[in-house]
Amino acid sequence: MSWLEISKFLNEKLSLEYVKNELVKTAYGTEENLLTKLDPRVLLIWYCYFAIVPWFIHSHVVLIGYLLFMLFLTYRAKVSPLILGVMGLGLLGEMLILFIISLLFGGDLETVLPMVWLCIKLGGISLASVAVFTSINPEKFSDALLRLGFPAQFSFSVAYAYRILPTLLEEFQQIILSYRLRGLAPEKSGLFYWRKIVYFLIVFIRSFYPLILNSAKRSRTTVEALETKGFTYGANNLQMIKLKTGYLKLTYNDYAFTMISIFYLIIVHALHYVL
């Protein structure tokens, strides 16, 4: 690949449009996969285990077992490469910096070894969350939270956030574009593009002024619509919540998934004694 092609490829991959599309795809990832068939409540409880318990595990065999399980699920959940890339870079970068700094303080490769295991641990935990939250349907997710006893405001916010995201992104992009149309971009890019970067940051921050005003109007409309439907009353009414979330039912899929997870955990923890 020539340099031109590489820069073109990078341009395509890093453009605002690509990021926007990937975000929307991640947020609305309703593609059928292994995890979407499950009851969201089961997924949430399952996730709670894999988000908290690994922190207390120091056994290397068990940690690798957890990571393998998560890798498999992430593969099956078809997670967006952008998200995986951001995550991987973050983990690797952190390790690299720590390694360089510990070298300065007289450490060597041994110093980094515990950090590698910490990274494996963190990797397993973050992969679990990526797999779960890209394959969970926002509507179902919100209802599951409501059923599990979270405040109605919170569960509404989840559904609202997923709904409003494309609108917000679209509007934000338009405001930025209109600022750029009216403004004068710097002619020279300067050392390390600092002029361009400063210019874009100023545009970015100033764009929030109209955006805040527009969002204020929208949030008023939203709340008025909610209250017309009796949101506050309904949120405090147990029977209403039961009626609303009545469609959430456990099927053989959920039982099978839970059982397989438990058996896998037994295998991994047992392997710890043998290996």
Binding site: S102, S215, A216, S219
Partner: protein, 296 residues
């Protein structure tokens, strides 16, 4: 007439249920959106110093100064949780609870320090101290987290020092870089401009300097109890993992008494059961596919 006006002014700053919800939703969606960008924008490395946009803290701070600080602060934290973590699949478990409390606390204090949003010096002090309080607390928690996560923290030479240095540099960098460029200056730009313009859009009066909050209403016993319980949980989990307690090895004598064959048997049985379930699922899946084909 004038007496009635006086009575109105003396009333503590209170919002109705739907106004609280409006402030909450406004803060949530705006800070959430900005958080998505901060999660994705790459950082520029200048040697050890990492130029990174930590957070666009000016958004929650602006809203905390203009409206009721508590609802704006909690809204912002919820927004970060949903847009920045759940939607991008980067939810971090227990750490998020800590960040939620710390960030809300910092923003809330920042908003409460400002009595009159039109005085620039007050806005500046509020912005810097709100963000600063959050950063100091977050740095302490970060150091504790590595201490908890890494086995034999003290035993590894150089690791303890390097982590203090990394966290210290990161704190200074965040405070100087994000603190001025993305907190102080934008807040100074936005607050006086929005004051008096945004409130009518939500159907409320602008805050004025005679207005005061009743602290007992903001910090209800329930809120204090919940934060105390959460702090206690965080502390206990840290204490447990710092001691030798491990979930993976709860009975070391187990192997010696029964021999390793028993464990292999356990593994075999579990593997067999999982295979059975997978086989059952595959058959069921095929049947379901067959049914839909039949219907089609």
């Amino acid at each position: 007439m004038s007496r009635r006006k006086c009575a109105v002014l003396k009333k503590p700053y209170e919002l109705t249920q739907s106004q609280k919800m409006m402030v909450f939703i406004l803060s949530m969606s705006l800070y959430g959106l900005s958080n998505m960008f901060t999660e994705l924008v790459p950082s520029a490395q200048l040697g050890v110093i990492e130029l990174k946009i930590d957070a666009f803290a000016f958004i929650p701070l602006t809203l905390c100064m203009l409206f009721h600080p508590l609802y704006a602060a909690i809204g912002a934290s919820v927004g970060e949780l949903i847009f920045g973590e759940l939607m991008l699949g980067q939810f971090g478990g227990i750490g998020e609870v800590e960040k939620f409390i710390l960030f809300s606390l910092g923003m809330c204090i920042g908003g409460m320090l400002v009595r009159n949003p039109q005085i620039k010096s007050q806005v500046a002090i509020g912005a810097i101290s709100g963000y600063g309080i959050f950063l100091v607390l977050a740095t302490i928690v970060d150091i504790l987290k590595v201490v908890v996560g890494v086995e034999e923290f003290e035993a590894v030479p150089g690791l303890a020092k390097s982590i203090f240095v990394v966290e210290g540099v990161e704190f200074l960098n965040d405070f100087v870089f994000s603190g001025t460029l993305f907190t102080l200056l934008p807040t100074l730009y936005l607050v006086p401009r929005l004051y008096g313009k945004i409130e009518p859009l939500l159907g409320m009066k602008p805050r004025d300097n005679k207005v005061h909050y009743s602290l007992t209403k903001v910090f209800t016993p329930k809120l204090i109890a919940i934060s105390l319980v959460l702090t206690a949980i965080a502390f206990v989990t840290q204490a447990i993992s710092e001691s030798d307690f491990e979930l993976g090895v709860w009975e070391p004598e187990f192997v010696e008494t029964y021999g390793s064959q028993v464990i292999w048997v356990v593994i075999g049985v579990s593997a067999f059961c999982s295979l059975m379930i997978i086989g059952y699922l595959l058959r069921k899946g095929k049947e379901a596919k067959g049914d839909t084909n039949h219907l089609a």
